[in-house]
């Protein structure tokens, strides 16, 4: 499936801002099942400095700074991406309670890379509450992926999607208590649960295609940034699970990148001088190439 992706983030300030320092993670990651055919980043006002580098986790990070006074900033990322089916696990997994020991012994580059996602990070720390929540899904003999899949289903059932219940800063303990949140909260919760029983899990940042109700046209800007989870099982590898939608990630998902949690891979984070308070508005369009209207197609190709 080929998508034309347009992600516009607009920042508005109540007072002029003189300096902005920003790090973006907005360039989709090149993966065996994801080909980035084109990518374009437009920032307004024009930054004084803009550089790209690979971060520790292999994602593209864009650093930029703006030095001229302004009261609004726009960051537009446009790309054309082909998403293929993810390859199935090469081997069956191992039982969840042997995973930690197996990972600890694996000092191959791949093994080390996976192991680091088993440790506490700012937004997803192992903790007794999370451990208690995941416990019913940890039965003897279950593989890592089986435990994680059951956990995903339970989170999906037990928790209510509620954009007003949380902010970026809401801790996992509070989400557990209130049983409400958004995709980001559910991903952090699921990661904290898995890490609490010694399993490595990472935070996936990207987009999911929303399908309009049958018979209705696609609404502009209706798609959204999305977050889900990838869980590692020695031998079987990574499995991507989406607790918000209770499904395995498929061709409907575009991956921007991953990290230990949101803090490593937030689409835009920055420090600004001045500005009073600010509001952020994000608009995402993820349009399958097959649905592009001819005019749009021309525009997108320009």
């Amino acid at each position: 499936m080929i998508y034309h992706l347009r992600h516009l983030t607009s920042f508005r300030y109540t007072q002029p801002v003189t300096f902005v320092y920003n790090t973006l993670h907005l360039k989709p990651r090149e993966l065996p099942w994801q080909k980035v055919q084109s990518f374009l980043l437009e920032i307004e006002p024009i930054p004084t400095v803009q550089t790209e580098r690979l971060d520790y986790f292999g994602n593209t990070a864009t650093f930029f700074m703006i030095q001229s006074p302004h009261d609004a900033m726009k960051v537009l990322a446009k790309s054309v991406i082909e998403v293929l089916p993810r390859p199935p696990a090469a081997q069956p997994g191992i039982p969840w309670d042997t995973a930690r020991r197996a990972m600890r012994a694996d000092t191959t580059p791949n093994g080390l890379d996976a192991y680091q996602y088993g440790f506490a990070s700012i937004y997803a720390k192992p903790m007794p509450e999370a451990r208690a929540y995941v416990q019913p899904s940890c039965r003897p003999g279950m593989t890592v992926h089986a435990v994680a899949t059951e956990l995903m289903a339970r989170i999906n059932t037990d928790f209510t999607f509620d954009p007003n219940a949380t902010t970026v800063a809401t801790p996992v303990t509070e989400v557990l208590q209130n049983r409400r949140g958004v995709c980001q909260d559910f991903a952090h919760l699921m990661i904290a649960c898995l890490r609490s029983i010694g399993i490595a899990a990472r935070y996936m940042s990207g987009y999911i295609q929303t399908l309009p109700p049958p018979g209705q046209p696609r609404l502009a800007g209706a798609d959204a940034s999305h977050a889900w989870v990838a869980v590692y099982c020695p031998q079987a590898g990574w499995l991507e699970l989406d607790p918000t939608n209770n499904q395995v990630a498929d061709e409907q998902y575009i991956t921007l990148g991953w990290g230990r949690d949101y803090h490593d891979i937030s689409p835009a984070k920055g420090v600004l001088f001045g500005g009073g308070t600010h509001t952020v508005h994000a608009q995402v369009d993820m349009i399958p190439e097959t649905e592009l209207r001819p005019t749009q197609q021309r525009q997108q190709q320009q």
């Binding site: 320092y21 600890r104 680091q116 937030s266 984070k269 308070t277 600010h278 952020v280």
Partner: protein
């Protein structure tokens, strides 16, 4: 036999640094002890008292972290140095150099290929569970591959006499500055002992440090700054001391800014590129964009600048990883893997509980160990398990079992003991040595000496400043003749003068100097008014009961804002209790925002933040003033208070004289003096207005009091030789620009400063220049005879308006100057996009 050691009993079971098991003096101690004995106990004591006063007056302090209330503690230094033989030192140095090399290579590997993990030299948890492993720092390639420029090691000597490593300090090793200060104090206090012992000098080490820092940049004449977290950090004194000793500006994060990918210092004359940062701030707090985003001390974009190689930072960002306590047991493995050598210097037996076998070993015999956090921050306290109650021990064991990765255990050894001077004799104390190693462009160099720390009590094994211990100098004997070397004019001379042009002065420092001037002058004015009041209350004065007393009390109430809170005292002589209570609240009250106590403590607090910018003598004066006020007991009597004010006014008067003598007349001094002058102008105008606007029936005593407050009685009498009259008094205090207390004089000075500062902007005539010179001529040309006329209500309305206007204009000038030169401080906030929910207000932070 040396008389000093007759009664000395080393601690049983510990290695004695000074005496061998047969009580014979170890050879390196002999000359020093002979010299010390030659001074004799009384002379040692007397010299030591003097030295301690010097330490206190120099403001050598150590801030204790746990206790914000106590604040800074005076530095504790013992006069008896720890003596070390050259052979022993060379052996130790080889081990220290090897250690620094290995840790530097380890950092380079862990921040790039991580072969140490792949080859099983280190368990990967040491990296992945480690908050000191800063992933954003991976792309930074420090110049010359030098992650560690300066490294420190805490060493202990085992009962068998072997030095071994207890701890590494890798990210901004503290203590080298204290070691230098200790050396200067001891060498000045016991000059002949210092000369005759033939010890190695410290200055070459600091010269090498300076050369090394300069070499970190490609620039021909690199601009180097010392970055400190600020006056509240535990070793702020040292940051300021090192900055002054090396001749670099001391800056806080807010003084620096990243533009493009370069780092700049915000100065009075604009932005100045910074090439090298000597970092005394934890790396986690250095860049809020990439690291701890809740940090307010950081410089956003600093990591990008470091990645781009536009700034060199010593030690490199991320080097805190090398001081991870859990790395200690793996050092021999690191050493073999990275250099192929065996470690030359042992490590105190240490176990990381993240390994099953080791964890069991710790839990089996838990009281044997000292337990520490595996990934500790710098201020984690070790737990001596044998001192715990059984229930606490069990609780600790449970904590370790629940999260074994997070703990290490170190063997609880008996630290060696060294002699400390107490009550005119030597007593033994457990001792540790902090040694410093420098990576220069041409190889490694160990500071010949170091910072020795001793326990507070004979039975205490806890050796730290936090727990009340002391410090010592370490003397390493030289082979052959010692050449004197110093960065300063002579090693025995610690005075350092600010000789550099200070157009590079940071705006923050200028702002602080401005306010220092204002507070000192405010304190001076308060003290003079209060003294004038107290003299009238305590000395036989006028038979009619000093009619001006009530007026003076009202003035002090008005200028401190106390008149709005408490009822005024109409007849002070008949209300002695109320009067005394009021005066004492003006002197000592800790909650009165405008009073003397407040002005003085504000002056001292600000002085502490700019102490590298003011001369040592000026600093001593501030310190002395603070002590005068603090040492005065507020339950004392009125004559005691008068006595205190007499004592206080001497250093207060000395302050302006000294600062104009011993500070170079650069922009920093101008800001300080401008603050001083503006405060004096507004306070004087206010006092004159309050006392003269409504003339008393019999005005002479009021005029006398005014002269006394203005310290101009002598001038007046020498000029007029008569009873005081209003017109000549006003001429002296308002218009006479030769009287350093007059309004005209203050404004002439302010005008000069404003003109000098205008050179910084290159924008032609500035509005504040015009205002200042207009104000000067307005005052000099005013018609006094006209001004003193009374109106139909018997008030001097003209004079009152005139003085009020002057006050307003001075405030306006102050705002103009502040706005032009000091308005660099900007408010930061955080920007973030969210996922899943569409909009949110950006007022919340991420964390």
């Amino acid at each position: 036999m040396n008389s000093l050691i007759n009664a000395y009993q080393p601690i049983a079971g510990a290695y004695s640094e000074m005496l061998d098991p047969q009580r014979a003096i170890r050879p390196p101690w002999q000359t020093m002890l002979d010299q010390l004995a030659a001074y004799g106990p009384e002379d040692i004591e007397a010299r030591w008292q003097r030295a301690q006063r010097m330490i206190r007056e120099n403001g050598v302090t150590y801030n204790v972290y746990d206790d914000a209330q106590i604040g800074s503690h005076p530095w504790m230094l013992d006069p008896v140095p720890l003596m070390i033989a050259p052979d022993e030192w060379e052996e130790l140095s080889a081990g220290l150099i090897q250690r620094m090399k290995v840790l530097n290579l380890a950092l380079a590997d862990l921040y790039s290929d991580q072969t140490l993990l792949k080859n099983n030299v280190l368990p990967s948890e040491l990296l992945f569970a480690n908050p000191q492993f800063l992933r954003p720092c991976c792309p930074i390639k420090p110049p010359g591959g030098s992650y560690l420029t300066l490294h420190a090691v805490d060493l202990a000597r085992t009962p068998a006499g072997k030095w071994c490593v207890v701890k590494d300090l890798a990210q901004s090793p503290p203590g080298a500055g204290y070691a230098l200060e200790n050396r200067l104090v001891v060498s000045r206090t016991f000059p002949s002992m210092y000369r005759d012992c033939g010890i190695q000098r410290l200055a070459p080490f600091f010269i090498a440090l300076r050369d090394t820092l300069e070499g970190l940049s490609q620039a021909a004449n690199p601009h180097i700054v010392v970055l400190t977290p600020g006056p509240h950090s535990s070793s702020y004194f040292e940051h300021a001391y090192i900055a002054r000793y090396l001749g670099y500006p001391l800056v806080v994060g807010n003084d620096l800014t990243v533009r493009g990918s370069q780092v700049f210092l915000k100065t009075l004359s604009g932005l100045k590129k910074v090439d090298v940062i000597l970092r005394r701030q934890a790396d986690l707090h250095c860049d809020p964009l990439e690291l701890a985003s809740d940090s307010i001390q950081g410089i956003p974009g600093l990591i990008q600048a470091a990645i781009d190689g536009e700034v060199a930072i010593a030690n490199a960002l991320g080097s805190g990883l090398a001081e991870t306590p859990a790395l200690l047991p793996f050092f021999p493995g690191l050493c073999r893997a990275l250099t192929g050598e065996e470690p030359l210097l042992g490590t105190l037996p240490t176990l990381w509980c993240g390994q099953e076998k080791e964890c069991k070993q710790v839990l089996d015999q838990i009281d044997r160990w000292v337990v520490k956090r595996a990934f500790a921050g710098p201020h984690e306290k070790p737990v001596f398990v044998r001192t715990l109650a059984p229930a606490e021990r069990a609780a600790l064991a449970e904590q370790i079992k629940a999260d074994p990765d997070q703990y290490i255990a170190q063997e609880n050894i008996e630290l060696s003991s060294s002699p400390c001077w107490q009550h005119q004799q030597m007593v033994p104390r457990h001792t540790m040595l902090r040694a410093f190693t420098l990576a220069t462009a041409n190889g490694w160099m160990v500071m010949p000496g170091g910072l020795v720390r001793t326990a507070a009590q004979v039975d205490s094994a806890i050796v730290s400043m936090e727990s009340g211990g002391g410090s010592k100098d370490a003397w390493v004997l030289a082979r052959g003749i010692v050449e004197p070397v110093t960065l300063l004019s002579g090693e025995d001379d610690e005075e350092i003068h600010l000789s550099r042009s200070d157009a590079n002065l940071s705006s923050r420092v200028a702002d602080n100097l401005f306010w220092l001037g204002r507070y000192v002058q405010r304190a001076d004015m308060h003290a003079r008014i209060l003294r004038t009041i107290l003299r009238r209350l305590t000395e036989e004065h006028l038979p009619d009961g000093s009619p001006e007393l009530a007026e003076l009390l009202r003035v002090i109430a008005v200028i401190t804002g106390a008149d709005k809170k408490t009822p005024s005292i109409t007849d002070p002589l008949k209300q002695p209790a109320e009067t005394k209570a009021f005066i004492f609240s003006m002197l000592y009250g800790k909650t009165h925002l405008g009073n003397l106590y407040n002005a003085l403590t504000s002056a001292c607090n600000i002085g502490a933040t700019v102490r590298e910018r003011i001369s040592i003598d000026t600093w001593r004066i501030l310190d002395r003033m603070n002590n005068e006020l603090l040492s005065a007991r507020d339950e004392g009597d009125l004559p005691d208070a008068l006595d205190m004010l007499d004592h206080l006014l001497m250093p207060l008067s000395a302050f302006s004289g000294l600062s104009s003598e011993s500070m170079t007349h650069g922009y920093g001094w101008r800001f300080m003096d401008m603050g001083f002058r503006m405060e004096r102008a507004t306070m004087s105008a206010q006092v004159l207005r309050e006392l003269l606007a409504q003339p008393a029936a019999f005005e002479t005593p009021v005029l006398d009091a005014i002269l006394e407050v203005a310290n101009s009685s002598m001038t007046y009498r020498s000029r007029y030789q008569s009873h005081v009259a209003l017109l000549p008094l006003l001429d002296l205090l308002i218009c006479d620009d030769t009287n350093p207390r007059s309004l005209a004089y203050q404004l002439v000075m302010v005008s000069q400063h404003i003109n000098a500062l205008s050179q910084l902007t290159e924008r032609g005539l500035l509005p504040e220049q015009t205002l200042a010179s207009e104000l000067v001529s307005h005052i000099e040309q005013c018609d006094l005879a006209q001004l003193v006329q009374t109106d139909e209500q018997g008030k001097r309305a003209e004079l009152s308006r005139f003085l009020a206007e002057i006050n307003e204009h001075v405030l306006e000038l102050s705002n103009m100057v502040t706005h032009r030169y000091l308005a660099h401080v900007l408010v930061t906030s955080r920007l973030s996009s969210s996922i899943g929910s569409e909009n949110w207000d950006g007022v919340e932070d991420e964390e």
